[in-house]
């Protein structure tokens, strides 16, 4: 019966050896142990132990500082080790907020792959460094962000007027101080958007300039025009220490995404609600047609390039964006996290956006147009034609703008076209106020550069014969506008909102003169392919259109 003794002997030796191996790897060969053993503070070696930052109310437990030991509370590591370097100064100290709050990743983990979240089954891998500011969006909602054009203008004004001479902004400027004194003359403006700023700063500056005898203010400050002041105010309202995030949001407000997508409490609902889209789990996305890395940022970027190949059946057209634009929009998408926070962590901007419906874009006509309308009607208002979608009409067409009264355009924006992509922008949840819509109308007029031709006639004057109109409609119009006027290649005409706000003159003139630059030709004009219509016949068609309304 020696077999059993051998069995016991060899099994036990095996168990012992495995335990020795396990003990060694458990106690001596952890990655963070090696890093901490190598990192030194100015007083010599540091304690080798697990370190962590816990913030119970944000529900973070971040052990990242076991490797990134220079960022641990109370550590002053001086070392060539990059991994152990201290954090650069930022508005929210990592000691207070933890690491994953901004960088994502798996804070509970203590090994590189797991901690960085580059493993299956961790829904939040670390954000690439260039997108790190997207995490501001977890808590903050930048409000009243203009479009890129205006943001650039504001930035340039700040630069041109040399505010940097006295003020510091995002770590730049504020260096000049005459007389060799230390410290800054003007306050740091990096967070004026969050902390607020004196709305009467201009008057204050002027008063100081007048009172000054040393010559300092006299030379440093000059009068500023009203337009520049407005831009500066706007610029100051946007400063939250995250300029790239503001630029990203400005881009979102420049290409008309809100026409189809909801963020927070505003936007069109044709597309996907994007309010929390930044929280998508990268492990649940399909990467079949996504070239490049299998990461969420890359997935979004590829999606912007070619939506339908990334998401099968997507209705979203390819917008033809440049690489820089895609980069900014990707950043913005990543910032849409809006996680629920304990009340004490809720910043003012988020409360305003969440509870009081504050606008996330400025409400001048231009920004509203670029943020909401330009996706479909084009940046220049010339309409858009995307493969597979009905054509979106030009709204800066000369013939249209001349005929359409401001009231007509106003009502169209406010009431929309039921059943068509044009949403009732004035009567939906958190929709536009009349004032906002009027500013858009003004902007559209400015974009087209054409005023309405005043119309002396009453709204309804067309006579004619409805039956004749019906026949003529079937022969001439139904091809593009649909047999029942339901729309096709051309817009829907049986739409009750259109018929309610369009005057007879509008309809009559459009039919008789057509719209230059579109397939809609004037029907009174002679044509080799069809008979031109008489005034009476056109009136009949208008009458027929009106009778559609009755149906």
């Amino acid at each position: 019966m020696k077999k059993n003794k051998y069995l016991l002997l060899f099994s036990s030796i095996g168990v012992f050896l495995l335990l020795v191996y396990a003990a060694a790897s458990e106690n001596f060969f952890k990655e963070w142990q090696a890093i901490q053993a190598e990192a030194k503070s100015s007083e010599g070696p540091i304690d080798v132990r697990l370190r962590q930052i816990i913030n119970p109310s944000l529900k973070t437990t971040d052990r990242c500082v076991s490797c990134h030991v220079g960022m641990a509370p109370g550590e002053t590591v001086v070392s060539h080790l990059r991994v152990a370097a201290p954090h650069k100064p930022v508005v929210h100290s990592p000691i207070e907020m933890g690491c994953t709050t901004c960088h994502a990743g798996q804070g509970l983990a203590t090994e590189r792959l797991d901690a960085h979240g580059d493993v299956d089954f961790w829904p939040e891998p670390m954000l690439p460094a260039k997108y790190a500011y997207a995490s501001c969006g977890r808590c903050h909602t930048p409000l009243e962000v203009p479009n890129t054009k205006r943001l650039e203008a504001a930035k340039n004004t700040f630069e041109r007027l040399d505010c940097y001479a006295c003020h510091r902004l995002d770590g730049r400027g504020g260096t000049i101080r005459p007389g060799g004194k230390t410290g800054m003359e003007g306050p740091d403006l990096s967070h004026t958007g969050i902390k607020g700023f004196n709305k009467e700063w201009y008057e204050g500056h002027l008063a100081k300039k007048q009172a000054d005898t040393s010559g300092l203010w006299e030379n440093a400050f000059a009068e500023i025009g009203e337009g520049d002041r407005a831009l500066l105010d706007q610029f100051l309202g946007l400063q939250m220490g995250a300029p790239t995030l503001i630029a990203a949001k400005a881009e979102y407000n420049s290409v008309g995404c809100a026409g189809c997508h909801i963020v927070g409490n505003f936007g069109g609902d044709t597309g996907v609600d994007l309010s929390q889209v930044g929280e998508k789990d990268p492990n649940r996305l399909s990467y079949i047609n996504v070239p490049g890395s299998k990461t969420f940022p890359n997935w979004i970027a590829q999606h912007f390039r070619l939506p339908v190949s990334t998401v099968a059946g997507s209705q979203m057209p390819a917008l033809g964006l440049s690489g820089d634009q895609i980069d900014l929009l990707t950043m913005y998408i990543l910032s849409l996290k809006r996680r629920s926070l304990p009340d004490i962590w809720l910043p003012k901007d988020r409360v305003k956006a969440m509870r009081f419906g504050a606008r996330e874009f400025t409400t001048d006509g231009e920004t509203i147009y670029t943020a909401v309308c330009s996706g479909c009607h084009g940046a220049g208002g010339n309409g858009m034609r995307y493969p597979g979608l009905p054509p979106y009409p030009s709204i800066t067409n000369r013939d249209f703008l001349e005929l359409a009264s401001d009231e007509f355009v106003f009502q169209t924006i406010k009431q929309g076209r039921p059943g068509r992509p044009m949403l009732p922008w004035g009567v939906r949840q958190n929709g536009f106020s009349d004032e906002e819509i009027r500013s858009v109308v003004t902007y559209i007029r400015a974009l087209g550069g054409i005023d309405a031709v005043p119309d002396e006639k009453p709204a309804r004057w067309a006579g004619g014969d409805g039956k004749l109109g019906s026949r003529l409609f079937a022969a001439n119009c139904a091809g593009c506008h649909g047999a029942m006027g339901g729309g096709g290649e051309g817009p829907a005409l049986s739409n009750k909102n259109l018929l309610a706000s369009a005057t007879d003159t509008f309809l009559y003139e459009t039919i008789s003169k057509g719209r230059r630059g579109t397939v809609m030709k004037g029907f009174t004009e002679p044509s080799p392919v069809r008979k031109s219509l008489t005034g009476y016949e056109i009136e009949s068609i208008v009458t027929y259109l009106r009778s559609m309304n009755a149906k």
Binding site: G268, D269, T270, L423, P424, R428
Partner: protein, 159 residues
């Protein structure tokens, strides 16, 4: 003891248990009854009288542009709400097979767990699901709809 006096018995051949030991039987019976009753009492405990799960009735506001036949799934609920020309209706998205959450598709519903498929009206078309997805009661008041996940209605009921 029912041993007759004078009768000698071996200690290897003990008394048979008396058949009519009334006292002993009733004592044992009482003990058994008491223990049995206590066991029933203990079995009563694990079945909760009220459940901790939140109310199964909830309000839905449908988006303005919900295309006909497209499902609207309220956040955190296993219900799909539809709108068509005949009205609004709600279908449960809990698979009748083993309770997975089915996914609304263009053809109907798909269950990821064991591959059951359902038609647009919830009828089983494929897989192991034993019965159709139930239609749920939905009522309207002032533009919002109220769905009751516990109240099933006959398929085809629309409002």
């Amino acid at each position: 003891m029912t041993t007759k006096p004078g009768e000698k018995r071996s200690r290897f051949d003990p008394d048979p248990m008396p058949r009519r030991d009334f006292l002993g039987l009733s004592a044992l019976g009482a003990a058994a009854a008491a223990l049995l009753f206590s066991m029933f009492g203990m079995l009563r405990l694990p079945k909760a009288a009220v459940l901790t799960s939140p109310s199964k009735k909830f309000n839905v506001s449908l988006p303005d542009t919900l295309p006909e036949g497209e499902a609207f799934v309220p956040e955190g609920r296993s219900v799909a709400v539809f709108k068509d020309t005949a009205g609004v209706f709600a279908i449960s998205t809990t698979c009748t097979h083993l309770g997975c959450v089915v996914k609304p598709t263009t053809q109907g519903f798909e269950c990821p767990c064991h591959g059951s498929r359902f038609a647009k009206d919830g009828v089983v078309t494929k897989g192991p699901a034993p019965k159709a997805l139930p239609w749920l009661k939905i009522t309207e008041s002032g533009g919002t709809y109220q769905v009751d996940e516990e109240d099933q209605v006959a398929p085809g009921t629309k409002i």
